[in-house]
């Protein structure tokens, strides 16, 4: 990855880390450097700069892993499988981070580490899929077999995800911002009025948020790039022996 991106990443990440943590949260933000207070969230709102990108990346990583998996199936080039598995490894890492930061947020906001609300359940299922992917890989001998079968599994698991999108809202009445709630007056299920995720963020928070998203995405691609290149070199050296 060339220097432009590395410098950009450094700059963005520094801003995000500083801007994400330092500015105080006050009732009536007067300057650019103050974040508005959202009742119920207060100081903990800052976690949004870090939690959401990890969840976002865990999905991106999966899509990258699947893309290169399919490419392997078509071209049988083992380097595509290396790209696939490195993306999946990063995806797993970010998935764990997302689950952990999410639980921490849940504990501080709603009292318990886990509630089985739709978003929590989805990230958990993604964790299971990643886990299954690696369990499968470690049970397979032969690089060609491993590459081929794990690529297929990643496709099959992916195909089931749209169904979750249908199911979740029906099944669960959640605490997660943006989920359904029961209207206290009529007892009906309706969309949540909680504004945090639905981008009613103040403009200054929004800037930092998108910077964070960008910074983490660049970070992902950088680490992914290094990882699959290392795998490639390892493979080549083994070949020459």
């Amino acid at each position: 990855m060339n220097n432009f991106w590395k410098i950009l990443l450094f700059v963005l990440m520094t801003i995000v880390l500083l801007a994400g943590i330092i500015p105080p949260i006050v009732d009536n933000p007067k300057s650019f450097f103050e974040f508005p207070l959202i009742p119920g969230l207060e100081d903990k709102a800052k976690i949004i700069f870090f939690h959401v990108p990890t969840a976002w990346l865990t999905v991106i990583a999966y899509l990258v892993a699947m893309f290169y998996g399919i490419r392997y199936l078509r071209k049988k080039e083992i380097y595509d499988d290396m790209k696939s598995v490195s993306a999946a490894a990063l995806g797993l890492l970010f998935c764990i981070l997302a689950t952990v930061t999410g639980s921490v947020w849940a504990k501080f906001n709603w009292g318990a580490f886990w509630h089985w609300d739709p978003r929590e359940t989805s990230i958990f299922i993604l964790l299971l899929i990643y886990g299954a992917y690696f369990a499968l890989r470690s049970a397979l001998e032969g690089e060609e077999k491993r590459a081929r079968l794990s690529a297929i599994y990643s496709i099959l698991a992916f195909l089931t995800t749209p169904f979750f999108i249908f199911i979740m809202p029906r099944l669960m009445i959640g605490l997660h911002p943006g989920a359904l709630e029961i209207d206290p007056s009529t007892g009906e299920i309706k969309a949540s009025a909680n504004p945090v995720i639905k981008f009613q963020m103040a403009s200054n928070m929004r800037i930092v948020f998108f910077m964070s998203l960008t910074a983490f995405t660049i970070l992902f691609f950088w680490i992914w790039n290094l990882t699959h290149r290392i795998l490639r070199i390892e493979h080549k050296t083994k070949q020459e022996l």
Binding site: K76, G142, E143, E144, H235, K238, Q239
Partner: protein, 215 residues
Amino acid sequence: MNKIQLRVRELKKTFNNRLVFNKLNFDLNSGDRFVVTGKNGSGKSTLIKILGGVLTETAGEIGYFVDNKKIDRENFYKIVGLVSPYLVLYEEFTAFENLSLFSKIRGLKISETQINEILNRVGLFERRNDFVRTYSSGMKQRMKYASAILHNPLVLLLDEPNSNLDQEGKNFVDELVFNFRKDGIVIVATNETQDFKYGEKIINLDEYKNSNKTF
């Protein structure tokens, strides 16, 4: 009478970074008999599997053309009969049941009499109602031949054709190979020099590790 052609181009197979063979090229036509030999581990069985459509090659291509029409890999089973040491039949069924099931799965319209004829031809008629699990290795080998010729294939792939066979069995194999259908192709993979007689052309897979040798 059909006309069949087998074209093998730049065939390469690797297992986990280990090269088995590379740049294999040959053409075979109706009536050809071909012997593949080489040391243990040279890839004879691997080549047979690839030609049978049950193993995927790493690079290159193989094509069967029947009356000039290309056969898809998923249809290889229709034209190929394969016998090899690692072929395993269904031991919980009798010889007759095995062949009967095979003919039904293949969608062949074969009568009981015809199945019995095949069993007779391979010398298993008396034991046709015994479970294959009770068979000796020589009898199992005969059973494999029965399954290979059941559908009157155009291509016969024989890996170690005479293994486990007594003299009578060996006579059967000779008769099968030399009197095989004139429009067919026979490919024999073997270590035994006595088996070289089966082929008009012989290749040694050891020579295909990296060279540019064309046939």
